[in-house]
């Protein structure tokens, strides 16, 4: 198993801590003097430019949230003059303004570096053809993978999202070996390969690097079986840098966080207290080296836990569990916490259906209602009413017994559901609070 930058990826923890502390001190000083918004926040908390003696002192610092980015739209939190910014990305907000991020030349170098680590840990190298089906543009997915792929010397195919027929043709003709896209789109492609009767032996795919949305172990199994590849989970968010924040190695046992660039903490999302190793909570990142948009204790809303200690691959970087879901995605239905990924997991265990669904949440007469629309799979459709009703009932029973809440299940025609080629839009929350 290759390691792109063994010096940093396999560093002793004490030495790593020293580097983190030194770099954090520089970052905090820079932010204090260059970003008035942060300076005020720090002053309010009784902190100065030299208040950090050790990386652990970060817990004294105030959090940064998506709202802070919105309040300073578009460039208010940038820590360098605009003349130093060479790239701008933005993520569309479902509500209000987009979140804008800016990169200096050195940030782009850092990003390429962490993406080179990501791709190398997934098993890719200069002989690979990397098929980037993430969207290019304001979204960080496409260009992030692109720069990392070029850095390791692979042949990058910048297909971007959409146009599935062309994707398949290029994949076949060019001999793509590594597929990079969202896990939802990977499943979509797997189905398209079946539907178009493409012989899997004509494809050279061996690995997939999938991220940008939470996905379950069941979904991983399904993708690996259908595409005959190893499916690697990669993690990132544009506010921190984009993809490249963390990635699984080929052992698929947790995602290694690039700790020399991003400092992770796990907090209790309610009390905001830092939680000890092994406890599940909200992941918080402080960027250690970012110049354009450094962020202190940025609340990702992602729920996970951290495991320190050396991995069998040789890396010493802390590992985070595969995300269960964003705390933003978490639905509270009549007081019960529910992640769409849990529903997906249950559906994947049933062979009679494909995991294509949409959840509709509503509030009728002050009571939360949950409706699940599931597509009827042609392979199972046998034209008997009773059989379909039995299936519907079975799905409903499986969900209710596992999740402990009642769900109204409806069978729908295939492909009538939002089949996104980017992030999946599987929840439609119609509740008006």
């Amino acid at each position: 198993m290759n390691i792109w930058n063994a010096h940093f990826e396999c560093m002793e923890r004490n030495e790593l801590r020293k580097i983190q502390t030194e770099r954090l001190q520089e970052t905090i000083e820079r932010i204090y003097f260059n970003v008035p918004y942060y300076r005020h926040k720090m002053q309010e908390a009784g902190l100065g430019s030299e208040s950090l003696q050790d990386a652990e002192d970060l817990h004294k610092f105030p959090f940064t949230t998506k709202q802070d980015l919105r309040d300073n739209y578009p460039f208010g939190l940038f820590a360098v003059p605009i003349s130093e910014i060479v790239r701008i990305h933005a993520s569309s907000g479902t509500t209000g303004k987009p979140t804008v991020v800016g990169y200096t030349r050195r940030d782009i170098v850092t990003w390429s570096e962490v993406m080179a680590r990501t791709l190398t840990s997934a098993g890719a190298n200069r002989n690979d053809f990397i098929h980037v089906a993430y969207g290019y543009g304001l979204f960080t997915g496409g260009l992030g993978l692109h720069y990392g792929g070029e850095k390791i010397g692979a042949s990058v195919i910048p297909v971007s999202g959409g146009n599935t027929k062309r994707q398949l043709q290029l994949m076949e003709d060019f001999g793509s070996t590594v597929l990079a896209c969202t896990p939802t789109y990977a499943l979509f492609l797997a189905e398209a390969i079946e539907e178009n009767n493409i012989d899997r032996n004509h494809l050279k795919l061996h690995t997939g690097v999938f991220g940008a949305e939470p996905w379950t172990e069941n979904m991983r199994r399904e993708i690996e079986e259908k595409l005959c590849i190893r499916a690697i989970d990669i993690y990132g968010l544009s506010e921190i840098i984009g993809p490249g924040v963390a990635s699984e190695c080929m052992l698929q046992d947790g995602l290694h966080i690039n700790e020399d660039h991003f400092y992770p903490e796990i907090i209790d999302p309610d009390t905001l207290e830092v939680l000890p190793e092994g406890r599940t909570g909200e992941l918080v990142f402080t960027t250690i080296t970012k110049e354009g948009l450094p962020l202190i204790r940025y609340r990702t809303r992602d729920l996970t836990r951290l495991t320190y200690g050396k991995c069998r691959c040789g890396r010493t970087l802390v590992r985070m569990d595969k995300c269960l879901g964003r705390s933003d995605d978490m639905l509270i239905i009549r007081g019960v916490n529910l992640f769409p990924s849990q529903i997906e997991s249950i559906l994947l265990e049933m062979s009679e259906i494909k995991p294509h669904y949409q959840l509709i949440v509503d509030r009728i007469n002050n009571l939360d209602t949950l409706e699940l629309q599931v597509e009827v799979d042609e392979e199972f459709f046998q034209d008997k009413i009773s059989q379909l009703q039995t299936l519907r009932q079975k799905i409903q029973n499986n969900l209710e017994s596992t999740l402990g809440i009642s769900i109204q299940v409806h069978l729908v025609e295939p492909k009538t559901l939002v089949r996104s080629e980017g992030k999946s839009q599987r929840v439609n929350d119609r509740r008006k609070y």
Binding site: H410, E413, P414
Partner: protein
């Protein structure tokens, strides 16, 4: 004697049946018989068409869930006793009928049935001199 019937899963949504018929009509598919079984939320459209395989492909391309199911069909004078007779022959042999529908042309009725065992049903009906309809004849009606 086995007839290939086209079955389509339909949500109870306005316009879906029209879409099916439009799509088949554009490709000059002839429909001999059509029936819909429905519940409050979904329905199953069953049709005897001139080219079941082609029809299936046409609908598949339009993202319908389609399947071809095997049914049998008999032609009787259009009086209830003949229909009753056929049902009795089958029930005497413990062959159950999953569903059935019928239509008449002039003095004759065409009865379509999906039985728990189509082969056995064909044999029994023949033995009782009931007139079985061939697929090729049916599409010419």
């Amino acid at each position: 004697m086995i007839i290939h019937q086209l079955s389509v899963f339909l949500e109870n949504k306005a316009g879906r049946l029209t879409e099916v018929l439009d799509a088949l009509g554009k490709e000059h598919i002839k429909i001999t018989a059509l029936s819909i079984a429905d519940t409050s939320e979904f329905g199953i459209l069953r049709m005897l068409v001139s080219d079941p395989d082609k029809s299936r492909q046409i609908l598949k391309e339009r993202s319908f869930t389609v399947n071809i199911t095997e049914v049998i069909s008999i032609m009787t004078p259009n009086e209830a006793q003949y229909y009753a007779k056929a049902l009795k022959i089958l029930s005497d042999l413990d062959i159950s009928i999953e569903y059935t529908y019928a239509f008449s042309i002039g003095q004759k009725s065409i009865v379509v049935m999906r039985c728990s065992n189509n082969e056995l049903a064909i044999k029994a009906l023949k033995e009782h001199e009931m007139e079985l309809v061939r697929a090729s004849d049916l599409y010419k009606i």
